[in-house]
């Protein structure tokens, strides 16, 4: 994702606004839910295309596959400790040590593939985009977060909150007639314990995993990728 190509520009500046305007004008139908799913799907395209365009080498492909697999089975391995899932933490670590593009792809593909085991649904694109962006922005802040544990923890907590807020937005768009501030507040309040759990578990996993996994990733990177 070094440069946004003309296609990404077209998608973000033309196609998405056109869809929003058309949806607003669509005769009498209030179709927030499908339109939001459509927009989220389209927003994923430039990231995937950027990856395909630059013809990734085998090392990168395999590395991505490993990181995606680890997010998928992270949900299985930590079954003995209910509520604690290392997915977000792993996506953040990937973003920090392997770059924003890898972070995005790990998050997005991880959501897509783990939903083959946990149930695919209209929420899949939302999960893909949220986890993807968490990884992408982690990649943007890599230098700062590698050396600063406090910043890392803040980012982890924030990522948990944002993840929860965006998925609540999804439920509000789906379970009601359109968006309402009241509904959204109600959804956030009911989800509050989970939000806190996400935040705590993200921070915990980042503290426990960032150093050991980061070291391994850096080693792989210097040995195979940057050579």
């Amino acid at each position: 994702m070094r440069k946004f190509s003309w296609l990404s520009g077209l998608i973000f500046c033309v196609i998405i606004p056109v869809i929003v305007v058309c949806a607003a004008r669509f005769p009498g139908e209030k179709s927030y839910a499908p339109v939001s799913v459509g927009i989220v799907c389209i927003a994923l395209v430039p990231f995937f295309l950027g990856f395909e365009r630059r013809k990734p080498g085998t090392a990168e492909l395999v590395l991505l596959a490993v990181m995606v697999t680890m997010t998928v089975i992270g949900r299985v391995i930590f079954a003995p400790v209910p509520g604690f899932k290392p997915v977000t933490a792993l996506v953040v670590i990937t973003g920090i040590y392997l770059g924003g593009e890898m972070g995005f792809l790990t998050g997005a593909m991880g959501a897509f593939l783990s939903n083959f085991y946990f149930g695919q649904g209209p929420w899949t694109p939302f999960q893909m985009l949220t986890w993807g962006l968490i990884g992408f922005f982690a990649g943007k802040l890599d230098r700062q977060m590698r050396n600063n544990r406090v910043l890392l923890c803040i980012y982890g907590a924030l990522a948990g909150a944002v993840y929860s807020l965006i998925l609540d937005l999804w439920s509000v768009l789906w379970w009601g007639e359109g968006f309402g501030t009241k509904r959204y507040l109600a959804a956030i309040t009911t989800a509050l314990p989970y939000t806190v759990l996400y935040m705590v578990s993200n921070v915990l996993f980042l503290l426990l995993l960032a150093k050991p996994i980061g070291k391994k990733l850096l080693r792989i990177r210097t040995r195979y990728l940057d050579a």
């Binding site: 085998t58 492909l61 596959a65 697999t69 400790v81 593939l113 379970w175 009601g176 509904r183 391994k216």
Partner: protein
């Protein structure tokens, strides 16, 4: 189930896309009911009785929840039923809640059916054309998941033999899981780099990538696709000419007779997979009885 599984992935994709988008975009009670009916029948046919009712144990409360919560937030509508905390609960809001719940359950049912029928090879076949790199990652992950799980078990066994991982305390279990996870990732990275190097040595990236599949377009694929497209077009004609326009607020519209042909077309579309699956079951039982 083979009757549906054997269809060409492209044909299945078009079918599910058509049903899901009509279900999500068109807000008409009869269309939603038809979609829900089709989804329920298909799910019943794919799942068998026991699993079907187990899933219903989730869908029915969900439907009830949405029905109950909608009137709490929406006070539109002209027919007031009673007052709750000074806010009117209206018949229209309840009806709209039922409709919305039905739509969501229908979408979830169709997604579940899609999940069953779109196995990894089908996804890869469709994805392989547009995104060869990502579809390769996809197929590698499908292979890695069972492989890593096996390895994880080995690591855990060793750790247990060393006397770790035995206490029942929460922190111990968490730390042990973290240790296993970290060990697994170290092994996985080394192992995968070997895979990458050997792929390169075998000439990955030279020429176009092909992928193995057993799909061949047959007559029944073309037939199914043609029927799907015709029925979808009929439904869409009804939608675009405004025949299926329906408002819950301020007062519920009456269902006009003019929309019935569009609804009927969609209903046929929605129950088609169920009919195909059941027809196959009947034929199978018939042959069994004959021998």
């Amino acid at each position: 189930m083979r009757a549906l599984e054997k269809f060409h992935p492209g044909v299945l994709f078009v079918y599910f896309l058509a049903v899901l988008s009509v279900t999500m975009f068109v807000r008409h009670p009869m269309i939603t009911a038809a979609s829900l009916l089709g989804g329920l029948l298909l799910q019943r046919s794919l799942d068998g009785r026991k699993r079907f009712w187990k899933d219903m144990g989730f869908y029915i409360p969900l439907l009830a929840l949405i029905t109950v919560t909608n009137p709490l937030f929406s006070h539109n509508g002209v027919t007031q039923l009673f007052f709750l905390n000074g806010n009117a609960v209206t018949l229209e809001a309840v009806a709209c809640g039922v409709h919305m719940g039905m739509m969501i359950v229908a979408v979830l049912l169709w997604c579940a059916a899609m999940n069953r029928l779109f196995t990894g090879d089908k996804v890869m076949y469709l994805l392989g054309r547009i995104a060869p790199g990502l579809s390769l990652v996809f197929s590698m992950v499908l292979r890695f998941v069972p492989q890593f799980r096996k390895k994880r078990k080995e690591i855990m066994t060793v750790q247990k033999a060393m006397g770790l991982y035995t206490s029942k305390s929460y922190t111990d279990r968490l730390l042990s899981s973290v240790r296993v996870y970290s060990a697994l990732i170290g092994w996985a990275l080394e192992h995968s780099m070997e895979v990458g190097v050997s792929m390169k040595a075998k000439g990955y990236g030279q020429g176009r990538r092909t992928n193995f599949h057993l799909f061949r377009r047959q007559k029944r694929d073309s037939g199914f696709l043609a029927i799907t497209l015709v029925l979808t077009c009929v439904t869409l004609t009804g939608v675009l000419t405004g025949k299926t326009h329906y408002d819950f607020y301020p007062a519920m519209d009456r269902v006009e007779n003019g929309c019935l042909w569009a609804v009927a077309a969609f209903a046929v579309l929605a129950v088609m997979p169920f009919i195909l699956a059941e027809e196959e079951k009947c034929r199978w039982n018939y042959y069994l009885r004959k021998t």
